[in-house]
């Protein structure tokens, strides 16, 4: 979670960037690029493609800054653009995945493991998840977005997002059980 001071600092930088100050936008880039890249990398599983998405997302953000509403979170807005960029790059018949799950399932508040696992193994297990499940886990589980926010970013129903997260948790647990222990 960002502190109020950081958010206010973002607001000031965003305001300057909106007026065409590229230096202010560079500062925003430096502050946010790691998180945006982490998100894109986990969604694409490809460092080069993730970097392309990050680059495109920041360019789109610059162009869309006049439309950004100051009361919204710049970070969330930027993530939304990044997710949208990843989805655009992904579009194509070979990448299509259809989510057919029960949207009424109840999910646990957090994804915990009985036995601690290596960070690297957990990243590998997430990477091995099907696309839809991975997207939901990355946005809700790793980046802490609410189902409604994640669903809106991904362009899916809230119920589908919940179902995908439930599916991701099950698959992740299975894969870690098999691979780690």
């Amino acid at each position: 979670m960002k502190t109020d001071t950081v958010v206010e600092f973002d607001v000031a930088l965003v305001e300057r960037a909106r007026r065409g100050d590229a230096k202010a936008f560079e500062r925003l880039y430096r502050d946010h690029v790691g998180r945006v890249n982490g998100l894109c990398l986990r969604m694409t599983r490809n460092p080069d493609l993730a970097a392309d998405c990050v680059q495109d997302a920041f360019i789109k953000a610059w162009k869309a800054l006049p439309k950004f509403e100051a009361r919204a979170s710049f970070s969330t807005w930027l993530h939304r653009i990044a997710v949208n960029t990843v989805l655009e790059k992904r579009r194509g018949p070979s990448n299509a995945e259809i989510a057919v799950e029960d949207p009424t399932v109840h999910e646990e508040p957090t994804m915990t493991f009985d036995t601690p696992v290596e960070e690297e193994e957990l990243e590998a297990a997430i990477e091995s998840l099907p696309q839809g499940a991975r997207d939901a886990l990355v946005l809700c589980g790793v980046y802490g977005y609410e189902h409604s926010e994640a669903a809106s970013m991904l362009g899916i129903a809230v119920g589908t997002c919940k179902a995908q997260l439930h599916r991701a948790r099950g698959l992740l647990r299975d894969r870690l059980e098999r691979g780690v222990r």
């Binding site: 065409g20 590229a22 936008f25 560079e26 880039y29 430096r30 690029v33 790691g34 998180r35 890249n37 982490g38 998100l39 990398l41 460092p47 993730a50 970097a51 990050v54 680059q55 920041f58 360019i59 610059w62 162009k63 957090t110 994804m111 915990t112 493991f113 036995t115 601690p116 696992v117 290596e118 960070e119 690297e120 957990l122 990243e123 997430i126 886990l137 589980g141 790793v142 980046y143 802490g144 992740l172």
Partner: protein, 176 residues
């Protein structure tokens, strides 16, 4: 080196990219700024009047639709009167044109009331669509009054409407 975790949300969120992406982003921003400062290009001017061309095409098609509808519709019963859409206030039209159109509309109204219901609905709907298209061109002209192309489209669309209204008025007399 590698941490041991018990929760997914313990994973680090910040993963810097392998290379600095700022130079490419900065170059794109500079190009965007330069494009914004440049005088309007032919492409941008074209983008401004393309919707109007679409509207004009729609006007033409609807006018043709009115004529075709009249040519093939059966004649017969005399159902109750329906209201045709007379559009908003055509402020940009000359007074003589407005008077002529108003008079024509009265005759068209009478003609429509004598048409069979199916035909009447079809023709009234086409005329209403035609009027809406003209209203949209008029609204676009309101935003960009100096646009010569829009002015031309507006005049030709009004002429199309007059032709369509005349065709409706004369439709019965042609066939009897």
């Amino acid at each position: 080196m590698n941490r041991r975790l018990t929760r997914v949300d313990e994973l680090k969120r910040d993963i810097p990219p392998g290379r600095d992406l700022w130079p490419a982003i900065s170059a794109a921003i500079e190009a965007d700024k330069a494009a914004a400062d440049a005088p309007p290009s032919m492409a941008r001017r074209r983008a401004a009047w393309l919707p109007a061309v679409g509207l004009a095409a729609a006007v033409g098609l609807v006018a043709i639709g009115v004529l075709i509808g009249l040519s093939f519709a059966p004649q017969g019963a005399t159902p109750p009167v329906v209201k045709t859409q007379t559009g908003g206030s055509p402020e940009m039209m000359p007074a003589a044109y407005r008077n002529q159109r108003d008079a024509l509309l009265i005759e068209v109204q009478a003609k429509l009331s004598s048409m069979p219901e199916v035909e009447r609905k079809k023709v009234a709907s086409s005329l209403a669509t035609l009027r809406r298209s003209i209203d949209e061109i008029e609204a676009a002209l309101g935003r960009d009054p100096a646009n010569a192309l829009l002015q031309e489209l507006f005049v030709s669309s009004c002429q199309e409407e007059m032709r369509a209204l005349t065709a409706v008025r004369d439709s019965g007399s042609q066939e009897t």
